[in-house]
């Protein structure tokens, strides 16, 4: 009996097959190269969709799970704002608020939440079976010879425009005639984006992906797509990179991949709290912290909604309960509108908005917050401040509008490296212009 037991087990030999279900969108593959995967809330009809809910499942490890709440709220806000930075969305060690030896939960969560909305890795990643550094090559599927042909090319960088890829089939959407993952396209649809290699600029051999080394060579320092696979201790990546936003927004052009028509959609993520073993209807993205993974995974079910369009049906995120996570309590920066004057202003009068961004209480990061602050007046006006990162810095920019009334000014610090995005609002009054009559009366 015992011998049977052992021999049976010994015979259970296997080799893990190459996984073909991943692409720049989760379910794209050899038989569906141009397939786009949409979030659960999209069924083919455009418009402002029902919010996509996310919760923390406290049926397992509740004491640990509740610590994740601040990170979940931050990540929800990050996806809802859908803003990206051109560079410096990565930071390491003392340039972050992450204590030594810890792994940033929010950065990992952001990556897994991207998967659970339909995004795959822009790079080969571990599912390809390719070892480092080759797995940084651009996401593709094997061609007729059934093997990946990943050669870095002259620049020695895997994932760049000169990779030699044999008959591999590209799965990564890139900007037509630019093939630069550090840029944003003018529109987010197939007029500007393409998956096939037919719109590469002259001399380019394959689609480039937003790998940190590739982007550095293109002039974008400390930058990488959040969806690029790979995490490290004491590394912060809580800000979306252009390629992340481009891929999300291409999906939101709807099933026809054309921006500006009826099947375009938008949706917001909504944190619905701590729930006990929720159904996927009650909680579309379930976050658990348990031993079902050695680090972090997202498992998704999906179903076709039309040709080359799939929607996620179930999405579960799991994070390892033994990992030395750093749980962010909230954004580590505080944006403040110091003044907006003159307030009230008159229609058409220029007024100045002064903004300061500081580290949150108890936060210690080398240097001072720097980067871009966008100021909007809620009626179509906007201006931009660039913070240089000097001590006590207050930046300013000017707005003016002809719209009379009380407006909501929003200053949105986009974040930089280890400094999180933060947002503040205040009101500003644009009053009717005073008209002085000849008799001295208004």
């Amino acid at each position: 009996m015992k011998r049977i037991v052992i021999l049976s087990l010994v015979l259970a030999v296997l080799v893990i097959p190459q996984v073909a279900h991943s692409g720049a969108y989760v379910f794209a593959g050899a038989s569906s190269l141009d397939e786009v995967t949409h979030a659960r809330v999209y069924t083919g009809t455009g418009g402002t969709l029902t919010p996509l809910s996310i919760c923390i499942d406290i049926s397992v490890n509740p004491a640990l799970a509740v610590l994740a709440e601040g990170s979940v709220v931050n990540a929800v806000n990050t996806f809802n704002r859908l803003r990206s930075v051109p560079n410096n969305n990565l930071a390491f060690n003392a340039n972050t608020d992450i204590p030594s030896g810890q792994v940033d939960f929010e950065s990992t969560l952001l990556h897994e939440m991207g998967h659970c909305q339909g995004l795959a890795h822009p790079n080969h990643a571990t599912e390809s079976g390719i070892a480092e550094p080759g797995r940084n090559g651009t996401k593709s599927t094997v061609g007729t010879n059934a093997v990946f042909e990943q050669v870095a090319g002259v620049d020695g960088l895997h994932g760049s425009r000169d990779d030699l890829r044999g008959d591999d089939l590209n799965l990564h959407w890139y900007i037509r005639n630019q093939n630069n993952p550090g840029l944003l396209p003018a529109a987010f649809d197939t007029t500007t984006m393409i998956r096939a290699l037919t719109a590469l600029p002259g001399g380019h051999l394959f689609a480039a992906n937003a790998d940190r080394d590739v982007l550095n060579a293109l002039g974008f320092a400390n930058t990488e797509a959040v969806m690029q696979q790979g995490a490290f201790t004491r590394e912060a990546q809580r800000i979306l990179q252009h390629d992340d936003v481009t891929t999300l927004r291409l999906a939101r052009a709807g099933s026809d991949r054309t921006q500006g028509n009826a099947d375009d959609y938008t949706y917001q993520l909504q944190y619905v709290g701590q729930l006990n073993n929720p159904t996927s209807e009650a909680c579309n993205l379930r976050v658990r912290i348990d031993a079902s993974t050695g680090f972090a995974v997202c498992s998704v079910g999906g179903v076709g909604i039309s040709t080359n369009n799939v929607r996620v049906t179930t999405a579960n995120l799991a994070f390892n309960n033994a990992t030395n996570w750093y749980f962010t309590p909230g954004p580590n920066t505080v944006a403040q509108i110091v003044s907006d004057g003159p307030d009230p202003s008159t229609p058409g009068q220029t007024y100045s908005v002064q903004v300061r961004v500081t580290e949150g209480v108890g936060i210690v990061i080398t240097g001072e917050p720097r980067g871009t602050v966008e100021v909007r007046d809620g009626v179509g006006g906007s201006c931009t401040i660039t913070l240089a990162g000097t001590v006590g810095e207050i930046g300013s920019c000017n707005l003016n509008t002809s719209a009379v009334g009380t407006q909501t000014l929003t200053a949105h610090y986009l974040g930089f490296g280890g400094w999180d995005s933060s947002l503040v609002t205040t009101s500003h009054v644009v009053g009717a212009a005073n008209v002085i009559f000849l008799n001295g009366f208004e």
Partner: protein, 211 residues
């Protein structure tokens, strides 16, 4: 000075064994002994069973969780540098734990796991479930890679390899081989979560260098 397993006071299965079988799982396949409190131990000899878990998102040398069950009932557990309890630890199996592992191993042997066959069965199940919405697909991103290796002295038994065991098991509880692998894997991993692990080797500092 490490503390050794109290092997001498352990009840040994007196039933006859086949010579080819005895070296492999000599202890795991013996009869259960009286339940005892877990005792610190020092792993001796080659492991008779090893589980390695390599995460997709944190895939690099030294980043895997490794759990070795030795033939003196001592379990050594190597936790990667990003765990709260990084380093190498040991734990003595109690008699009841040994018996439980033995039972789980038998279950898996009765339902040998093959990842490709599991995927085929999963696809068949999705087809059977499809009613209104059509055939669903399933994917696990950043899937963990599990390798379960059994050894017989110097002879390596072929390894059982699997991806995302727990995620597939949640989706396809009907697949018995997957369920058996999941239960054995879960039990082994649960050993690493015990409070009374004894430290064998000081942890190395977590690498804080990005590629």
């Amino acid at each position: 000075m490490p503390i050794r397993c109290p092997t001498s006071n352990r009840a040994i299965d007196a039933r006859p064994r086949r010579a080819t079988v005895a070296p492999l799982f000599a202890l795991l396949l013996s009869a259960s002994v009286a339940a005892a409190e877990p005792t610190p131990c020092w792993p001796q000899g080659v492991p008779v069973m090893e589980l390695r878990v390599t995460p997709g998102e944190m895939a690099a040398p030294g980043k895997e969780l490794r759990i070795n069950v030795h033939d003196n009932d001592c379990v050594s557990i190597k936790m990667p540098d990003y765990y709260r309890r990084r380093g190498e630890y040991a734990l003595a199996l109690s008699g009841s734990e040994r018996a439980e592992l033995q039972s789980l191993l038998r279950d898996l042997a009765a339902q040998p796991y093959d990842h490709q066959l599991m995927l085929a069965e999963a696809s068949r199940l999705e087809g059977a479930r499809a009613v209104d919405q059509g055939h669903e697909r399933f994917a696990v991103l950043d899937a963990d890679h599990y390798v379960l290796t059994l050894r017989d002295g110097d002879r390596f038994a072929p390894s059982v390899r699997a991806l995302a065991v727990f995620q597939y098991a949640e989706r396809y509880p009907e697949i018995r081989s997957l369920d058996a692998l999941q239960r054995l894997t879960a039990r082994l991993i649960s050993l690493s979560e015990r409070d009374e692990l004894s430290l064998l080797q000081q942890p190395s500092a977590a690498a804080e260098v990005s590629r």
